[in-house]
């Protein structure tokens, strides 16, 4: 797609920020697993947490094309950084903006936009992943309060979160319409987070369990209405998927950049390996796939900005882009030979970071189910 002048300036400025402020820290963030607070504050200051969130709630209302531009450019230099941005813009921020009470917006959404608080979205459980509706966490009414019990797993940013949106069953007999979302603050008795997971990639985004042991929360902490939690989550997934797809695009582009640079430099059999046709064929395949993804992603984002339904398109974009970035990263690593396997080259990190994208926010198989369902309905 052709960007407007404003979108071009945004891309230029994000690229500039990524190069100056993020790229020099990327390797260190990956290695130590520590995300510098100073960088977090800079992300807030540039409004990266509120791209899809309306102005009146502390965002910018800039929309999804802009969101994809920001994700793509930042993912090119540091994927962990993009994980801190997705949640406020999609899974966490959108339900708060769309369903939160004025009090909840003031207490959670505005500080989240300003970088003063970090929240997270806790749906997955040890026994309920793709089939999230089979969750075991319960919330039992007790006067004006609910008592929450259960365990959430693989929750992004849980170790550092100030508050968590927890999905729990309030009425088992109603199935997906018996699931409710609660805003639970760290410090509430019975609330704790598990040990930080040791992950293959995106190491600068801490992940852990959220443990709820007889946590008592007031009914005013319900986000949306009782029984509407699951539908609320599903409605925001389309937005989440397109944003993850843009993250994949950035990952693939960085792998491509590294591959092109390397094949021009590396000499074997008396010439740069980029001169061999076998390698040129690989590069062309990679570049073609990246640009197929790019076209699909920005087309979908533009449709979303125009208010069109993107359920099928977003699933296709996420499915194609995540598989594509794994393929491109693997080929780019292959082109580096043994050097690509060493941590001294950026492609090693890019390859590890790509891996999670076909798993979170709905696995590839779940995207296929969504696409087929739209086709056959």
């Amino acid at each position: 797609m052709i960007h407007t002048d404003m979108q071009k300036l945004i891309r230029k400025s994000v690229r500039d920020f990524a190069q100056k402020e993020v790229a020099p820290l990327a390797a260190q963030i990956d290695e130590t697993g520590e995300f510098p607070d100073e960088l977090y504050q800079k992300l807030a200051k540039n409004n990266y947490f509120g791209i899809t969130i309306p102005k009146e709630y502390g965002g910018t209302g800039a929309g999804y094309v802009v969101m994809c531009i920001v994700m793509e450019e930042l993912a090119r230099v540091c994927v962990s950084t993009t994980l801190h941005i997705t949640s406020p813009n999609t899974l966490l921020g959108l339900p708060l903006a769309n369903y939160g009470t004025p009090e909840q917006k003031k207490r959670y959404l505005l500080p989240e936009m300003r970088g003063e608080k970090e929240g997270t979205f806790a749906l997955t459980e040890p026994g309920a992943g793709s089939d999230a509706a089979s969750m075991k966490t319960t919330a039992v009414r007790d006067g004006d309060y609910y008592i929450l019990n259960g365990r959430k797993t693989f929750i992004t940013a849980a170790p550092v979160a100030d508050f968590v949106v927890v999905f729990a069953v309030t009425d088992r007999s109603k199935g997906t319409r018996g699931i409710t979302a609660f805003l639970v603050e760290r410090g509430t008795p019975g609330f704790s987070t598990g040990k930080k997971e040791r992950k293959m990639g995106v190491c600068g985004s801490p992940t852990s369990d959220v443990i709820l042991d007889r946590v008592r929360v007031h009914k005013s902490q319900i986000l949306g209405k009782e029984g509407e939690g699951f539908l609320m989550a599903m409605k925001t997934l389309d937005s989440g998927r397109i944003v993850v797809a843009a993250q994949c695009l950035g990952i693939a582009q960085s792998a491509m950049d590294e591959a092109v640079k390397y094949v021009k430099e590396r000499q074997q059999f008396g010439r740069a390996i980029g001169n061999f046709q076998g390698i040129q064929f690989m590069l062309s395949d990679m570049e073609t796939k990246i640009n197929c993804a790019r076209a699909l992603i920005y087309d979908t984002a533009q449709k979303k900005d125009l208010g069109m339904n993107i359920t099928k398109e977003a699933a296709m974009a996420k499915y194609f882009a995540s598989e594509m970035c794994n393929d491109v990263a693997a080929k780019a690593l292959q082109l580096h030979g043994g050097y690509g396997y060493m941590k001294d080259y950026p492609i090693e990190r890019i390859f590890r970071n790509a891996r999670v994208t076909t798993i979170y926010e709905g696995t590839s198989q779940i995207q296929q189910i969504v696409i087929a369902k739209q086709l056959l309905k």
């Binding site: 002048d5 404003m6 300036l9 945004i10 400025s13 500039d16 920020f17 100056k20 402020e21 800079k42 200051k45 540039n46 409004n47 990266y48 509120g50 791209i51 102005k55 910018t60 209302g61 800039a62 802009v66 920001v70």
Partner: protein, 262 residues
């Protein structure tokens, strides 16, 4: 305090190539950018504004209509207003005619307490427009500003970068200052800043709005005549050594002595 920052849209010379036959710049496909030291001048004005709420920063450029893209960038950084002076009559102006024209535009905007310019534009590298502008406006000037502090109302302390060391000067406004890159690091643009920059209006001036005539501007009013342009040949190629650090240090010492550098 009212501040006018003079900015120019320039081709990114990091990406410019020279046509081997005509010896002119190949501008095709070269991105245009806000001249780097103008960005320093704007940044410093915005910092003054951050310290003194109520201050106003106007970005002013003379250029083709496409220069609006750069003015949007200035607005996104935080400039309150942006003004584009564009007219066929000003085309082909050298530094003399440019200073004439911009001085007139500054008068049309009611003047300012602080006129901030970049030391030089990377496409021409003359560093003449700033000083000439100060002369036309009858203002004192300090060039090569690398540090600025506002003391009391209307009194500034500036450090002027010299080849070896620097000068510390106190100046009263109104004054013209020219910025060097050491002055500051221009801020990154926020998403909101960019969105709002595209909602603002850019003020367009033409020569009719100015107190000069076509005879005072453009190619006709430019005493500079280009005799010939050429790409200087790099006759001495650099030397590259790759060996043991101790040995290279020894070699370097000998080489520098041979050239009478040390």
């Amino acid at each position: 305090m009212k501040m006018i920052v003079c900015v120019k849209q320039v081709p990114d010379t990091a990406e410019v190539r020279i046509d081997p036959v005509t010896h002119t710049m190949i501008r095709d496909g070269v991105p245009s950018i806000l001249n780097p030291e103008d960005a320093n001048a704007l940044e410093e004005s915005l910092r003054i504004k951050d310290r003194h709420p109520g201050a106003k920063v106007i970005a002013l450029t003379m250029g083709p209509p496409q220069a609006q893209a750069m003015l949007r960038e200035c607005l996104a950084m935080g400039a309150d207003e942006a003004v584009l002076l564009t007219d066929r009559a000003v085309a082909g102006a050298d530094t003399w005619a440019t200073a004439n024209t911009i001085a007139s535009a500054i008068r049309a905007l009611g003047g300012a307490e602080l006129i901030f310019v970049g030391r030089q534009a990377i496409d021409g590298d003359t560093a003449q427009v700033g000083p000439q502008l100060a002369e036309r406006l009858g203002l004192p000037q300090v060039t090569y500003v690398q540090k600025l502090t506002t003391l009391e109302d209307g009194l500034l302390q500036v450090e002027r970068r010299m080849e070896q060391g620097y000068e510390v000067l106190r100046v009263r406004t109104p004054v013209l200052l020219s910025a060097v890159k050491e002055l500051n690091a221009p801020r990154c643009l926020s998403i909101l800043g960019i969105c709002e920059a595209y909602e603002k209006e850019i003020k367009i001036l033409s020569i009719q709005d100015l107190d000069i005539t076509p005879a005072d501007t453009g190619l006709n009013a430019s005493p500079t005549k280009v005799y010939r342009t050429f790409t200087p040949k790099t006759e001495r190629a650099g030397v590259l050594w790759e060996e043991d650090a101790g040995r290279m240090a020894g070699k370097l010492l000998t080489a520098l002595r041979e050239k009478h550098v040390i």
